[in-house]
């Protein structure tokens, strides 16, 4: 079970780039103190005790680390993507093809999160893409602290685009800002048109929605109109792309969009 959220995933230890990090989630404690204390406003309370107003977000610690990441990535002039989807939607193939087809135009590096195994990292590394693997072990999502530590192991000055491949999970990653510029959610045609309605927080939080494996749409009986309609209901603000990383159909619009975002 995920130690962090009890969501039923996971079971090992946190590893970043092959090194074990014990107590991965405790690092932030040091950062969280201090600043909080300025917010207190003391006043007497009728119960004998004293009430302190705090008015702090419970995800404050991650939010603060994510903002640090964002500032750092901006200073490095990186475009940072947080790619999320359910397991098996085609994140790794999509990222590998994106990197391959951007070659000569933009240099791309990847931070890969998985509960266990470095199979995805190996697939990307074989394609010549700089990769750092985070094996989250017990945790079903990446957080800003893990990303900061993984990014420290990459030569970011050699990159234009940093892609963070999140753990395959449409629930928990929705709440964890990693410091990305764009959150990219994938929906493969084999998953069913109602995924956006079933996992609205994730789809709602995305800047970009990509319908993947479009070459399999007919075989999967994919109702394109319905899927697009559902996406527009939950994430009307998102840019939508439809593509097949395998055949290359639709990739050009996505790649042009990335180049445009990087230049902006």
């Amino acid at each position: 079970m995920c130690k962090e959220c009890g969501c039923g995933l996971g079971g090992g230890d946190l590893k970043i780039g092959g090194h074990s990090h014990e107590h991965g989630h405790d690092h932030g404690h040091d950062h969280a103190h201090g600043q909080d204390h300025h917010h207190h406003h003391e006043h007497e309370h009728s119960h004998g005790g004293k009430t302190l107003s705090l008015n702090l977000s419970l995800l404050e610690q991650n939010a603060r680390l994510a903002e640090q990441n964002r500032g750092f990535f901006r200073a490095k002039k990186l475009l940072v993507l947080n790619v999320v989807s359910s397991p098996g939607s085609g994140k790794t193939t999509f990222i590998r093809e994106t990197a391959a087809q951007l070659a000569g135009r933009l240099r791309l590096g990847v931070i890969v999160g998985d509960l266990a195994t470095d199979n995805d990292a190996a697939r990307l590394r074989t394609a010549g893409i700089p990769v750092v693997q985070i094996t989250t072990g017990t945790v079903c999502h990446l957080d800003a602290d893990m990303v900061a530590k993984a990014a420290a192991q990459m030569d970011l000055d050699q990159l234009d685009v940093l892609v963070i491949e999140n753990v395959g999970n449409l629930v928990c990653p929705a709440d964890y800002d990693l410091g990305e510029d764009l959150r990219v959610v994938l929906l493969s045609v084999t998953e069913g048109e109602d995924k956006p309605l079933k996992y609205p927080p994730m789809f709602h939080s995305a800047h970009v929605a990509v319908v993947t494996k479009s070459d399999m749409a007919a075989a999967a009986g994919f109702n394109r109109e319905l899927a697009l309609q559902n996406l527009e209901r939950v994430c009307h603000h998102a840019r939508i792309f439809e593509l097949s990383a395998k055949t290359g159909d639709g990739m050009k619009a996505w790649l042009d969009f990335l180049a445009e975002q990087r230049a902006a």
Binding site: E4, C5, D36, K50, L52, L54, L59, V171, P201, F203
Partner: protein, 113 residues
């Protein structure tokens, strides 16, 4: 969801606040939980008892204020109630509503002694 880690943050913030104010006990925590926060109040309450154990918040009471979700319709220039993430305005059916409230997961205050 991550109710356990959310409650760990809440109790840690409460304990830190109490200690820095020179208090020896946390008597109560008050949270604000949006209806679209994804956190389940029952699971938060369950996690609360566990994470308070062996801290100065052990035995503290937990109050949760539910924050109803609200959207903003740019066409009507008015708020509307949202039951979910589908932010269609019930008056003009404009689909481009913006979620303004309902994602809250906050610690409002603590009572200390």
């Amino acid at each position: 969801m991550h109710e356990v880690s959310i409650m760990e943050s809440a109790v840690r913030m409460a304990v830190d606040a109490a200690k820095s104010a020179g208090a020896s006990r946390v008597l109560a925590l008050r949270l604000r939980v949006g209806t679209l926060s994804g956190a389940v109040p029952e699971a938060l309450r369950f996690a609360f008892d566990v994470v308070c154990r062996d801290t100065i918040a052990e035995g503290a009471s937990l109050e949760m204020e539910s924050v109803p979700a609200a959207g903003w319709c740019p066409a009507c220039r008015a708020e509307f109630e949202c039951a979910d993430f589908i932010s269609e305005c019930p008056r003009c059916h404009n689909p481009n509503g913006e979620l303004r409230r309902g994602r809250e997961l906050e610690i409002a205050s603590v009572e200390i002694d």
